[in-house]
């Protein structure tokens, strides 16, 4: 086994980890601020991919223009989701919020199955079938572009989270809800921003990844479970922990898949999660899975 192969596996793992992170960060953010586990998160990812597919195939939009369109629509969806449904939950129990988002997920997923059938759709654009080569390492052009978009997105999210008043308010709420309220942070308004950012990240992930994976109504389903495992490993509501856990998962999957050629690659996330929960139930950097 030569060193190039290992570096190639590492590169593939990092790229896939970045993609996982893009979905998981939004989920973690919504959980941190609102204590809601958004079961419909994967469906917003799917809607983003569908929208990118239709705008790319039928409207002949450029890759980047369709990403922009998806971002705008996702902000709108996030706004509606919060104002129509989530805000009505008020202080209901945590289980009620899960049931609500499962309901949303059932409507979106089965509605899309009805409208667009289960047939996988392929989106190809200018960058498909192009490959970047560097010192015997290869990386498909689309994955490279998607990784760059993801890194830029992460930078923006980290900037918001650590260098703006909004980010400070979000961190405040996720650390101590009552104390945040006491110092004048409006949880309803901050919750709205958290949901909008979370849904937009998920939609963006769908739009960015649409040409890389096939687009179909249940595509969000498998992805979202890995995202759940990632936010548990990284510590619920912890953004940096989530990104780190996503990268580690991507790399581990890539190495296990490349070296052992196991069919059980999809189970790694769950095994990883079980180990973390048994050894350190509050997540690697958790603010505490235990309440």
């Amino acid at each position: 086994m030569d060193i190039t192969f290992l570096i190639q596996l590492l590169l593939n793992g990092v790229v896939v980890g970045l993609f996982y992170g893009l979905v998981a960060v939004g989920l973690s953010l919504i959980f941190g601020v609102l204590e809601i586990v958004n079961f419909a998160h994967g469906d917003f990812y799917m809607l983003g991919a569908m929208l990118a597919f239709f705008s790319g195939m039928y409207l002949q939009f450029d890759y980047f223009i369709s990403i922009a369109v998806v971002i705008i629509v996702s902000v709108f969806i996030g706004y509606l989701l919060y104002q129509i449904l989530i805000v009505k939950l008020k202080n209901r129990s945590f289980e009620q919020s899960i049931l609500l988002t499962i309901g949303v997920s059932m409507v979106i997923q089965n509605g899309s199955l009805y409208l667009w059938t289960a047939t996988p759709k392929m989106l190809s654009n200018l960058y498909s079938y192009k490959v970047l080569e560097f010192a015997n390492l290869t990386l498909p052009m689309l994955r490279a572009i998607a990784s760059i978009v993801t890194i830029i997105t992460f930078s923006v999210i980290f900037w918001i989270f650590y260098f703006t008043r909004l980010g400070k308010a979000m961190r405040g709420i996720s650390q101590n809800r009552d104390a945040a309220l006491m110092v004048g942070i409006d949880p309803v308004r901050i919750g709205l921003y958290a949901v909008i950012i979370g849904v937009t990240l998920s939609g963006l992930a769908g739009a960015v990844l649409a040409p890389i994976y096939t687009v179909h109504p249940t595509m969000g389903f498998a992805f979202i479970f890995k995202a759940f495992a990632i936010i548990i490993i990284g510590g619920l509501g912890n953004i940096s922990g989530t990104v780190f856990a996503a990268l580690v998962l991507g790399i581990v999957e890539s190495f296990v898949g490349g070296i052992f050629q196991l069919a059980l690659v999809d189970a790694i996330a769950f095994i990883f999660m079980s180990i973390v929960l048994l050894v350190k139930p509050e997540g690697i950097w958790g603010r505490g899975v235990r309440v």
Binding site: F31, E35, V37, L85, K88, L89, R92, S93, F94, E95, Q96, I98, L99, L100, I102, G103, V104, S105, M106, V107, Q109, N110, G111, L113, Y114, F221, F225, F228, A229, I232, L236, A263, L264, D266, A267, F270, M273, S274, L277, L278, P281, G288, V289, R290, V291
Partner: protein, 321 residues
């Protein structure tokens, strides 16, 4: 009280009538429908015990259903057991798995509990799909033999049609539901409800919270596992789709609309939601969309389900007069 017991007696009579109703129509379709109703009645009663009584939103029920299904199918096809010996073993095995899942996940917060039980169900799907030497992967195990009843000095009865299989389901369902009912009204059931209302208070009264929770998980796992083991002999095939999220969603709808914690409410809802969509011949996608809308409306408007709504209305009426 008189009003309530009269209501319950008429409800019981109605359910009994529904039980024998397939015999009025000379069509296998109604027996198949009856089998579906029985299966969902047990499954939703199991979820109700966990969510309605203790407030544990468990997504592992479908995993126990599927594990029971696979265990009995494998024992019958590969070890050539009869279904009557395979079923209890499937139940015991599911119970052990349930105890393990419960013990590990109950130490976590409620948020993590929901995610971990969900992941466990998905892990079961992956194992069923990938452990090909045991489960034959996505191809599933087809051609499960029809259960037979061997009575000495009589000829063997082969239960190869829904008409013959239905009574077996009915007997099992009645037994399982009776067990759930007894558990609900027993001292244990009251302890479970106390845990839901106020966990620290319950434990200060000397109720062992963890062991009660594990007991409830094990009971619902055993009964769901056995109904799974029986159900695949109606389907005659078991494949990874036995772990489908569809079963979880249906169970949730029945429990939430019926009223979490209300035994009769959930039972009525599981009958209604198994029968009506089937009779109306909805496309299955649209049916799930309608279920989703119902779930959203129910969470926002009727958080305690129809039964909770009726109970509240009655309480209000008593207060006014």
């Amino acid at each position: 009280m008189v009003y309530e017991s009269k209501f319950k007696i008429s409800l019981l009579a109605l359910i009994l009538l529904l039980c024998i109703s397939p015999y009025f129509f000379h069509s296998e379709y109604y027996f198949t429908l009856g089998i579906t109703v029985c299966t969902f009645a047990v499954l939703s009663a199991g979820l109700n015990l966990l969510y309605g009584y203790i407030g544990l939103l468990s997504f592992a029920q479908v995993a126990f259903f599927g594990i029971g299904a696979y265990t009995s199918a494998i024992l019958v096809t590969q070890n050539s057991w009869t279904i009557w010996t395979a079923l209890p073993i499937a139940g015991i095995f599911t119970g052990i798995v349930g105890a393990f899942v419960g013990y590990t996940s109950l130490k976590l917060s409620r948020h993590a509990f929901a995610i971990v039980t969900l992941s466990f169900s998905l892990l079961c799907t992956i194992i069923a799909r990938e452990w090909i030497s045991l489960t034959r992967g996505s191809m599933g195990i087809p051609g499960l033999p029809a259960p037979t009843i061997n009575i000495p000095s009589l000829e063997t009865i082969v239960l190869d049609r829904p008409n013959y299989l239905y009574p077996v389901f009915l007997i099992y369902t009645v037994l399982a539901l009776f067990l759930f009912y007894r558990l609900g009204v027993s001292r244990i059931g009251r302890a479970l409800k106390a845990i839901k209302l106020d966990e620290p208070l319950a434990s200060s009264q000397g109720i062992n919270v963890l062991s009660h929770k594990i007991l409830a998980i094990v009971v619902s796992a055993v009964l769901s596992g056995m109904v799974g083991g029986l159900f695949v002999f109606h389907l005659t095939i078991v494949d990874p789709s036995i772990f489908d999220f569809y079963y979880t969603e249906s169970m949730l709808i029945m429990v939430i609309i019926g009223g979490p914690g209300s035994y009769w409410g959930v039972l009525c809802a599981s009958i209604l939601f198994s029968v009506i969509p089937d009779l109306l011949r909805f496309s299955s996608d649209l049916r799930m969309v309608a279920y989703g809308v119902l779930l959203i409306i129910s969470v926002l408007i009727l958080p305690n389900g129809v039964a909770g709504f009726l109970r509240n209305r009655n309480n209000k009426r008593w207060k006014i007069h």
